[in-house]
């Protein structure tokens, strides 16, 4: 038996912090486990540090707001454990609804934390973007560049290009511009019909960065001037990236000399934990992503009532919705444990307002086709270096589904455990079998959802458990 808490929250982003603040205010013992060194999650990453170095203005009003949320979180009576990576969750043995254990690694030691209610607020990660050359040093995700700017005041080495699609593309271009490092080109991989338009930019700006919008249309106009609508990209180079090659729908081809290429294709829920718990998940066709089957307001899992999901891991809807839904999940969990909780009245409204935008966003920000159907030579699984062609060949053997494909090709068997390839593998299989991705499913995720060392794991059991030999 390890430690105990009434409620464990996994993730200290907008959702997790809000949930923890609610539950703690209701008088419960709350522990928050997060794998980053400081609170804030993706959006408010290192907001305290950026404030200290006087750089808040670079990122806009939404980032600045995070400082207040993080301060409230710091003041709340919660047992906050930074640098703690959760690797699995185990429900109590016989009854599914009494609680369970959270297994995590912190400071080189695996440990258990028992709780009666669990709130999973693990956020989202960027949709994988397989294209020729995407493994070359010099190619990074857009999110990586944003993280580097927030935590380290680093900017991409020029000349650099941003490629892909999604609202973050424009936001980051603007943030980098504000940081004095505007992209040398933007390659817009949206479907030609959905290419960058004034309306799209404005919708994005209104959603993500109202203050930028208020400052005028300068950067939007500038971006439109540098952006080119293309349908394919390739990264070229031997030891590192040297050039990006693009191709338009009309067949025009061009090359740009670059030092850095940032790619992005939207974000998808980080549902590794709930998938490892084998909670049922739903395929959201518009978002082309899977999310746990849960109550849309309290985040309570349909199948495991002691677990709630909140924020982007429950379905990507942005930080404002994440904070509101975190609050409502925290309140619901506290109520279930017999406490009175009073979520802010605005939280429901904010959540539904943010949610309401989602279908619109999904419509204008469809995943880029260039990344959906990689050609045979393109690596799909970066870890085990499996090409799309190898996956197709295995699919042709009649593999019943993604788990058999994984067994046949090793795609998904490396340290990232399929985070970078399972969507693509499923899409290729769906194509080969004429089924929908929702029907094909994803390869299974198991505990531990992230690697840990044999020594760390060996310390998990406080008393020795005998293994029968055979």
């Amino acid at each position: 038996m390890g430690e105990r808490a009434d409620i464990v929250v996994i993730g200290a982003g907008p959702a997790g912090m809000a949930a923890a603040i609610q539950a703690a205010a209701a008088g419960l013992a709350v522990a928050v486990l997060d794998d980053q060194p400081t609170p804030g999650g993706q959006i408010w990453r290192n907001v305290e540090g950026a404030a200290e170095r006087g750089d808040l203005k670079l990122f806009g009003k939404d980032y600045r707001r995070g400082l207040a949320s993080v301060k409230r979180f710091r003041l709340a009576r919660v047992d906050y454990q930074p640098g703690a990576r959760v690797v699995g969750v185990e429900p109590d043995a016989d009854a599914r609804d009494t609680g369970g254990d959270v297994l995590f690694v912190r400071k080189g030691q695996a440990a258990r934390l028992s709780c009666k209610r669990l709130i999973v607020a693990t956020g989202a990660y960027e949709r994988p973007t397989p294209f020729p050359g995407w493994t070359l040093p010099g190619v990074m995700t857009l999110g990586a560049a944003q993280i580097a700017l927030k935590t380290s005041d680093l900017v991409p080495e020029r000349p650099f290009v941003i490629a892909g699609q999604g609202p973050l593309l424009l936001l980051l271009a603007a943030q980098l511009e504000a940081a004095g490092a505007p992209p040398d080109a933007v390659l817009d991989l949206s479907d030609p019909g959905l290419a960058l338009t004034a309306g799209k930019s404005a919708a994005m700006a209104a959603l993500l960065a109202p203050d930028y919008l208020a400052k005028g249309a300068y950067w939007l106009g500038r971006l439109r001037a540098t952006a080119r609508n293309v349908v394919q990209i390739r990264a070229l180079g031997a030891e590192r990236l040297r050039q990006v090659e693009w191709r338009t729908a009309a067949g025009a081809v061009g090359r740009i000399d670059v030092r850095t290429l940032l790619v992005h294709d939207g974000v998808i829920p980080n549902a590794q934990l709930t998938r490892a718990m084998r909670a049922p998940h739903l395929y959201d066709m518009a978002a082309d992503a899977w999310r746990p089957a849960a109550d849309r307001l309290t985040g309570q899992l349909d199948d495991m009532p002691w677990v709630h999901v909140a924020g982007d891991c429950a379905g990507v809807a942005g930080w404002a919705a994440a904070e509101a839904l975190g609050e409502s999940a925290g309140a619901a969990a506290a109520t279930a444990l017999g406490r009175t909780a009073t979520p802010g009245r605005w939280s429901r409204t904010r959540a539904s307002r943010a949610r309401a935008l989602r279908p619109f966003l999904d419509r204008i920000y469809r995943p880029a086709r260039a990344f959906q159907r990689p050609d045979d030579a393109t690596l799909v699984c970066r870890c085990e270096e499996v090409t799309a062609g190898a996956v197709r060949a295995a699919a042709a053997l009649g593999a019943q589904g993604p788990n058999q494909l994984k067994a046949f090709t090793r795609a998904g068997m490396g340290p990232c455990q399929g985070r970078m390839c399972s969507q693509t593998v499923a899409a290729i299989l769906a194509d080969a079998q004429g089924r929908g991705p929702g029907d094909v499913g994803l390869m299974r995720v198991r505990l531990p959802i992230s690697p840990l060392t044999v020594g760390e794991l060996a310390g998990l059991n406080e008393t020795e458990i005998k293994l029968p030999l055979s």
Binding site: T151, E157, R259
Partner: protein, 100 residues
């Protein structure tokens, strides 16, 4: 691929060694960010083909940033904050069970 916009002031800086060379890093940043800022790429060779690789997502999903940190092989450098005196080796070799 990433360069410093501003150098950290002395009060916010730590020094680590990367492949034996002193590298100044900003307190609170990850080992992966510090290594990239020092212009060190590739940081490893892919285990099957030996192709060059470097940190890719900086948020813990892709596992391209594996490095040897204080003698521990294959540490996820983007999730490891820098500490003064930390010894980092890129091109992390496979850990060995051999003795001697």
């Amino acid at each position: 691929m990433l360069v410093r916009r501003t150098e950290p002031p002395a009060s916010a800086a730590v020094t680590i060694t990367v492949d034996g060379r002193d590298v100044r890093a900003r307190k609170g940043e990850s080992v992966a960010a510090a290594v990239l800022a020092a212009g060190i790429v590739p940081t490893r060779l892919a285990p099957v083909s030996g192709a060059p690789r470097a940190p890719y997502c900086l948020m813990g999903s892709c596992y391209e940033c594996l490095m040897t940190v204080d003698d521990r092989a294959n540490v996820q450098a983007c999730m490891t904050p820098v500490k003064d005196g930390m010894r980092v080796r890129t091109h992390a070799s496979r850990p060995s069970l051999r003795h001697g």
